[in-house]
């Protein structure tokens, strides 16, 4: 991509945001160019080249653009700026800082700096003169909020370099040189705190990407207990509108055990982003005692912002995630929703008159989705420390039908499947994650199984599988009861059904709006699962099916009161005692 002279061109055709440019020199696929529109520069990306014609998608409205307008090519792909000061920012899909933009309405052609290069940071060196370094190695550190933000050898550096000098501890501007390195030829290169990287290329500054194995706690029982996600894992949440996708994603962003959270609001409602802007600066992060906003970065490309930038937004978010992962941090990346990203791809593919795949989506949609999910993961860095990106995307299936191309392609790429069910949402069983259809492939990983056995309990996995089985048997019993009638089945069927209901109400359902119930630490989840299984394994004495329902409702009620009480508090212990009493009324010794 290094060119001596930058290519220029002239607009020769316009169809909505697809602009065809006649070029006078070399261009590369995905190269960025600026199109002149009466003095305003519109950013665009090359998406196809035919002879001397470059097809570009413009990240802005093309209204008023004329044929013959000059175009400048930049010689590089779409890049983000990486450096201290990214955290807590609100960016658009192209990493423009939304807060520094002038005016209430977005103006096209207004691009703002992602990072304040003049801001001063307290720098502490990590590397010393004489060290041999490669891309991604740590040279020093600054404090960004509460995170030790590493200043690294730029990812674009190829091969080995020798550190000539590193600035001593002190306060420096982001744009100042903080280290000088020499390459094999002995030429000196200055390094500042800021570097750039093309978003569509994965950052590979790590030595190894093993299978992930550490549980990532989210405080959501139906995830942690039943379908766990791991540090560096991938998952997705498909669900029809009104099934609680956004509430679940917000819960994850508030509670997950991650060092930092990147939220890509991709083609969704602006008011939902406003909710994060408004609430996160007020909410406490229980892990650090600071405000939630201090560990959160938002990439907001809402549904009314330009479509092409919507596609860029998920890549921008992932690249920022990879940057922080290279510092040895645990990153959680949430994208809401990846369907809107796929729709953006469909719109362009359609304008380029490509032959369509299923539902008019581009044929390479599955490949695009899986290579994006592949950028997540748990890695060993050059210096032996570890970092991770856990990625969870939501999918908005058309008509709530999970057999559509985006859901099916994502199912092949993501390892956890949290299917939101309309039926559960209608009966107010939240989070409406379907307990039978959902899965976590990680439960089959021996690495995670060992971790769970060592860190939670040796019989944890067996308990989880038993609970899943009880849910399945309960569902079967329920179907039988519905067909044959309450008195047409043995009492045992009622017991089987109600035992599965106990798991449903106590473990699966969780009140995201309750201060205590919203987040359950894993010790608490372990205790509850064991108590619930205690009920499921016991034999109970009933003569009449009519007595089964009211008694189990009492059991469920006491369990729920426990969920609403502070762990190990007076109230909690009171309900614990009450539970034993209720159970003993019917338990067969």
């Amino acid at each position: 991509m290094e060119e001596n002279k930058l290519t220029t061109g002239k607009v020769s055709g316009i169809i909505a945001n697809l602009v065809i440019v006649e070029v006078n020199g070399p261009v590369s696929q995905n190269e960025i160019c600026f199109i002149n529109l009466a003095g305003v520069r519109l950013m665009a990306e090359v998406i196809k080249v035919l002879g001397n014609k470059a097809y570009t998608q413009v990240f802005e409205s093309t209204r008023g653009l004329k044929v013959g307008e000059p175009v400048e090519f930049m010689g590089h792909m779409l890049e983000v700026t990486l450096g201290p000061g990214i955290l807590s920012k609100n960016f658009d899909g192209l990493q423009n800082d939304l807060d520094t933009m002038v005016g209430t309405f977005l103006k096209r052609g207004e691009y703002t700096a992602a990072i304040d290069v003049d801001k001063a940071w307290d720098f502490t060196p990590v590397a010393k003169a004489g060290d041999v370094v490669v891309a991604g190695d740590w040279l020093g550190e600054v404090k960004e909020n509460w995170i030790g933000h590493k200043i690294m050898v730029p990812f674009k550096f190829e091969g080995k370099y020798t550190v000539k000098s590193v600035k001593p501890a002190g306060t420096y501007k982001a744009s100042e040189t903080i280290a000088v390195v020499t390459n094999a030829d002995g030429s000196e290169i200055n390094i500042s705190m800021i570097q750039k990287w093309p978003v569509k290329v994965p950052i590979r500054a790590y030595t190894d990407k093993p299978r992930p194995y550490r549980l990532m706690e989210t405080g959501v029982r139906i995830i942690d207990t039943m379908n766990p996600i791991v540090e560096g894992g991938t998952g997705f949440i498909p669900g029809p509108f009104g099934s609680g996708k956004t509430v679940l994603q917000h819960a994850l962003s508030k509670q997950a055990e991650a060092d930092l959270i990147i939220v890509a609001a991709c083609g969704e409602r602006a008011n939902e982003v406003v909710e994060i802007f408004t609430e996160f600066p007020e909410l406490d992060d229980p892990r650090t005692g600071r405000k939630l906003m201090e560990r959160t970065t938002i990439i907001a490309n809402t549904s009314n912002m330009p479509v092409a930038a919507r596609e860029a937004s998920v890549y921008t978010a992932m690249t920022i995630g990879e940057y922080y992962r290279s510092m040895g941090l645990k990153v959680l990346l949430l994208a809401d929703s990846t369907s809107r990203w796929a729709q953006a791809l469909r719109e362009m593919s359609n304008r380029m008159e490509e032959l369509p795949g299923p539902d008019a989506f581009p044929m390479d949609l599955p490949a695009i989705i899986s290579s994006f999910y592949a950028r997540a993961g748990y890695v060993f860095l050059n210096n032996g420390s570890t970092g991770s990106i856990t990625f969870i995307g939501t999918v908005s299936p058309a008509g709530g039908n999970l057999k559509e191309p985006v859901t099916e392609s994502t199912k092949k790429a993501a390892r956890c499947f949290f299917a939101l069910s309309q039926q559960r949402a209608d009966s107010k069983r939240y989070p409406a994650v379907d307990p039978i259809d959902s899965y976590s492939k990680y439960l089959e990983y021996p690495e995670l199984q060992e971790y769970l056995a060592a860190n939670i309990a040796p019989d944890w996995l067996a308990n989880v599988l038993e609970a899943k089985n009880i849910l399945l048997r309960g569902k079967e019993a329920y179907e039988q009861i519905n067909i044959l009638g309450d008195d047409g089945v043995p009492i045992d069927y009622h017991l089987r059904y109600w035992k599965s209901e106990v798991i449903d109400f106590v473990i699966l359902q969780q009140d995201a709006f309750d201060k205590i119930d919203c987040s359950a630490p894993i010790v608490r989840q372990k205790e509850m699962l064991e108590k619930v299984l205690g009920v499921c394994r016991a034999d109970f004495d009933f003569d009449n099916f009519e007595d089964v329902n009211p008694w189990f409702k009492r059991v469920i009620n006491v369990f729920k009161q426990m969920n609403y009480s502070l762990y190990q508090s007076e109230d909690y212990k009171k309900y614990e005692t009450e539970l034993v009493e209720v159970i003993n009324e019917r338990k067969v010794a």
Binding site: T62, R269, A300, N350
Partner: protein
């Protein structure tokens, strides 16, 4: 129709389809407006010197030597306080016999609000209809459609909501309105003496369908003027968005685009979002609230139009005829306002959330009792009481002809609770029962 002096006139059309024509011209801007033998058209494709124009009223009778004049600007609306009380067509031209509006020329379909410059919606909109105010409270800056079958009286309900909402301006965007419905709106607004705060942009079934595509942008450009420049509360009514989407599919079909689900264009989500996301609460005080109508075909909400709409809007309202009382009600089960949590119990009386939930729960019990009755099972005393509660609840609160304030709605609900149930059956927090239980 405007033609300005010194404009070049082209007279050589090279291609004509049902909706578009092409010609050779240079120096033309994308989305620029033009006239073709006096008919308004817009540039939809530029390829070298070849310009493709979409003629809004269709190409019937357009000759290859038609006079084409480019206007050098995208579609615009002149905005000023003179807009108030006026009726316009899809191009923003008066259709009420009044004079042209003078004012600042604004491009329609302008840029979006920077999300960080929005404020979280927080002001309640009172409509007097308990099915809305009590169960699905609306908030300024919200966007919400009625999902309705074509035979339901959604236009009447919208007119009623518009008149009762304490909005500074009401802007009606009518797309494919029948002439009768158009006259109905006109009469209702006239009779209510509210004409001075109403602005209408109307495309009736007598006008060509493609013209409809301009209506929402016209209405919302006027809305932005009053909400942002004048800091007023603006309510925008869009009826019927299904007919708008149909017009989109006609155009994309004629442009040879590949259709996606239900023959709708692949960009349907973005096209609808661009309209609905204009709903906004500005920190400086003004707001735009959008209430729309999406007609369904036999109640199917999985069709691409209601489905995409549901993903964009903040809830939906369902109308249903309740045969027990012979009135149309706002269905408490399927309707949802996603933003109600921001206001209920905060700007309304504290017991609002609990009363709302208790009433809907008891109404659901009545529905179960009714099923039991239909299946030939015996009813308990409780079942009988829930059913008589449901009838009165439906008649006194859910019916769309109810017009009371929220406090009166809550009092009515408490009266019904006291009449039919014990305190334990209603299950509301003790402090509220102490204050409001009717003795």
């Amino acid at each position: 129709m405007e033609t300005q002096g010194f404009k070049k006139i082209y007279t050589k059309i090279t291609q004509i389809t049902k909706a578009t024509c092409s010609l050779q011209a240079s120096g033309i801007g994308y989305e620029e407006m033009a006239t073709v033998n006096g008919r308004l058209a817009q540039v939809v494709k530029l390829q070298g010197d070849n310009v493709t124009l979409q003629i809004f009223s269709g190409t019937e009778g357009i000759p290859t030597n038609a006079e084409v004049v480019f206007l050098g600007r995208p579609p615009v609306l002149k905005v000023s306080d003179e807009l108030a009380g006026r009726f316009f067509n899809a191009y923003g031209e008066p259709i009420d016999g009044g004079p042209e509006v003078e004012g600042e020329v604004r491009e329609i379909g302008g840029p979006s609000v920077n999300p960080v410059r929005r404020k979280q919606p927080s002001e309640l909109i009172a409509t007097g209809i308990a099915g809305i105010d009590l169960n699905n409270t609306l908030v300024t800056g919200q966007k919400i459609p009625f999902f309705a079958d074509p035979d339901q009286p959604y236009n009447q309900v919208m007119a009623m909501v518009a008149l009762r909402a304490k909005a500074d301006k009401i802007i009606l965007g009518g797309m494919g309105l029948t002439n009768d419905d158009y006259l109905y709106y006109k009469n209702v607004f006239d009779n209510a003496g509210a004409l001075d705060r109403i602005i209408s942009f109307v495309n009736t079934t007598e006008n060509p369908p493609v013209e409809r595509l301009l209506v929402p942008d016209m209405a919302l450009t006027a809305a932005e003027y009053f909400a942002f420049d004048k800091k007023e509360t603006v309510l925008v009514l869009l009826t019927d968005m299904t007919l708008y989407a149909d017009a989109l599919s006609i155009v994309s079909n004629r442009m040879d685009q590949i259709p996606s689900k239900d023959s709708m264009p692949g960009s349907l989500y973005s096209d609808l979002a661009k309209i609905y996301e204009k709903a906004v609460q500005f920190p400086e005080g003004g707001s735009i609230t959008i209430i729309a109508v999406t007609t369904l075909s036999s109640g199917d909400i999985t069709h691409a139009i209601p489905d995409n709409t549901g993903y964009i809007t903040e809830g939906q309202l369902f109308l249903r005829r309740d045969s027990d009382i012979g009135k149309v009600i706002v269905d408490p089960f399927r309707s949802l306002s996603r933003l109600k949590q921001l206001v209920i119990g905060k700007q309304t009386r504290k017991d609002h959330p609990q009363v709302m939930n208790a009433a809907v729960r008891l109404y659901a019990d009545a529905a179960n009792a009714k099923t039991k009755l239909e299946n030939g099972f015996d009813l308990t005393d409780y079942d009988v009481r829930t059913m008589s509660f449901a009838r009165e609840y439906s008649n006194d609160l859910l019916a769309i002809d109810v017009n009371i304030d929220t406090t009166a709605m809550l009092d009515t609900a408490w009266d019904l609770f006291g009449k039919h149930f014990t305190k334990a059956e209603v299950g509301i927090k003790q402090e509220f029962v102490d204050s409001y239980w009717p003795e």
